[in-house]
């Protein structure tokens, strides 16, 4: 009796694997969707910075921090579920949303939020990759283990995402009469731009986004230029 071409068990095996994979993807869609909603809400709150003078940050920033708390919760759920599976098998599902979440945290902290003191902290604080990991309670740049973590790429793309927002804020804060922060923003973007030039970039999405920084840089520098023309730069500013 000739052996069958295909072992009858093989079909059930493979179908079970494929169905299991589908279940995982569906669950991930749901979890990422929850995170995405938390991110959208926080981004919405953050959009108010363009119309809120710094004196009112003590009211606004705590609200934003509440939004961030929800993001952290959702990332925790994602981390728990995703860690059961190979990270890079499914990371395409959450990478964009995680970048956006990172961006909200970076921007909030830069504006003085989430500081150690009970009041609004200093402007200009940049969180590093490791700090972001601590905020969300997950590892970063994990190499010796296959579990959920935040990658260098996600951090850098999240960082680039706030640059455009900040250049816009430079303009809008001048409208609100705050010239000091415009100068700080311009200096910050200039430093970031120089920092990104240190990287050896390949022809990928990171490279594309890095290229876009120069437009935000120009926008911010134009604002500072306008101020300096009219002698509006605060005298005590260190450049």
């Amino acid at each position: 009796m000739a052996a069958p071409m295909i072992d009858p068990e093989l079909f059930d095996q493979l179908r079970a694997k494929i169905e299991h994979d589908t279940v995982i993807r569906k669950e991930l869609d749901k979890i990422v969707d929850d995170l995405s909603q938390a991110v959208s809400y926080t981004q919405g709150l953050l959009s108010r910075i363009h119309s809120t003078p710094r004196s009112k940050y003590s009211t606004l920033l705590p609200q934003i921090e509440e939004g961030i708390k929800k993001e952290i919760e959702n990332v925790g759920t994602l981390a728990t579920f995703a860690s059961q599976h190979p990270y890079y098998k499914y990371n395409y599902k959450w990478t964009r949303t995680v970048q956006d979440a990172i961006a909200t945290v970076l921007l909030t902290v830069w504006l003085g939020g989430r500081s150690a003191e009970s009041q609004v902290g200093e402007v200009g604080r940049l969180l590093k990759l490791e700090d972001i990991g601590q905020v969300f309670g997950v590892p970063v740049n994990l190499k010796d283990q296959d579990a959920f973590h935040i990658t260098i790429e996600d951090y850098l793309l999240g960082l680039i995402a706030i640059v455009e927002d900040l250049s816009r804020l430079a303009m809008n804060s001048v409208t609100l009469g705050d010239y000091d922060i415009a100068v700080r923003i311009s200096s910050f973007i200039k430093d970031l731009h120089a920092g990104f030039q240190v990287l050896n970039l390949k022809n990928d999405i990171l490279r594309k986004r890095v290229d876009s920084i120069k437009y935000s840089l120009k926008k911010a520098e134009d604002v500072v230029y306008d101020l300096s023309l009219r002698n509006l730069i605060p005298a005590k500013m260190e450049e």
Binding site: L10, F11, K128, Q197, V198, N200
Partner: protein, 292 residues
């Protein structure tokens, strides 16, 4: 590709030489952070490039194995010696390459670099085709796993001795510490999809040259390649679709199944018309000798 890319100062950028001189940047508070990130990203890109190179080589060697196998004329446990020797020597080359990359595709890296490891799909295609020609069955993923392990672990042996490592003998191989390379579900499934293409080519060639459908046995219950193609085709139709690539490969498989169906029909209907020993004039490929 010859020549070097040059930067805007006219200095050649060499990827195989020392790194280009550091760019002139003004240091600021963030520079150390970016330098660290740069080092990490460089290591990642370098690894990806290494794996990509090895993958291209393994792909080429796998294709050569398949070409050799397409010279087989009948399904039999023993392949013709010259073909088996060629296959073994290609496998030894593949072994060496897999051994060099195995340590770099463990744990989290296995899926991190899966786009650089398309060679595994091609290798599955070659191994499943090899297995089919010997046994007329579809090899299972769990049967491929020890084969992969052996391939990887014989790599250093093959490199040292330059002796053809015959993976089908019982020679005790010095077990090395090298970890195996895992085959993903996709490696297996897409490799088997592509196998149907090779089976179709094999069916076409052998039915033209032998006037019979490829089959292992002669008895009542012996299956032939038309039945095998039907079984594989239905197998894939029944599995839940996974992706756009799946649909594309499924469509190609359907075409292959239909081509083989036609072969079966032609042989059935026209086989009786053909004088003994006559073979058709093939419009492509080798021209077989006709006997009078």
């Amino acid at each position: 590709m010859s020549g070097f890319k040059r930067d805007r100062h006219g200095n050649a950028k060499r990827h195989d030489g020392p790194k280009p001189s550091p760019k002139k940047i003004e240091r600021n508070a963030f520079t150390p952070m970016f330098e660290q990130l740069r080092d990490e990203l460089d290591a990642h890109h370098d690894r990806r490039d290494r794996l990509g190179k090895a993958s291209r080589d393994v792909t080429a060697l796998s294709k050569k194995i398949i070409f050799s196998l397409q010279r087989v004329r009948e399904i039999d446990e023993q392949l013709p010696q010259d073909i088996q020797t060629e296959v073994d020597s290609r496998l030894a080359e593949i072994s060496k390459l897999l051994a060099t990359i195995a340590p770099e595709v463990q744990g989290v890296n296995r899926y991190r670099y899966s786009r650089s490891l398309v060679c595994l799909e091609e290798l599955v295609e070659a191994m499943t085709f090899h297995h089919y020609l010997k046994t007329q069955t579809l090899v299972k993923p769990e049967q491929l796993e020890p084969m992969m392990r052996l391939l990887v672990q014989q790599g250093p042996v093959a490199a040292e001795d330059e002796v053809m490592a015959n993976t089908s003998t019982e020679q005790p191989v010095e077990k090395t510490e090298l970890p195996t390379i895992g085959l993903t579900d996709e490696d297996y499934l897409y490799g088997v999809f592509d196998l149907t293409g090779e089976m179709m080519r094999f069916a076409t060639t052998t039915s033209a040259l032998t006037g019979k459908l490829a089959s292992r046995g002669e008895g009542e219950d012996a299956r032939n390649i038309v039945q095998d193609m039907h079984e594989l085709g239905s197998f894939f139709e029944m599995l839940p679709a996974r992706s756009f690539t799946w649909e594309k490969k499924l469509e190609v498989t359907r075409q292959s199944v239909q081509k083989v169906e036609k072969l079966g029909y032609d042989l059935k209907v026209r086989g009786s018309e053909r004088p003994k020993g006559w073979v058709p004039d093939l419009s492509s490929g080798d021209q077989p000798e006709t006997e009078d």
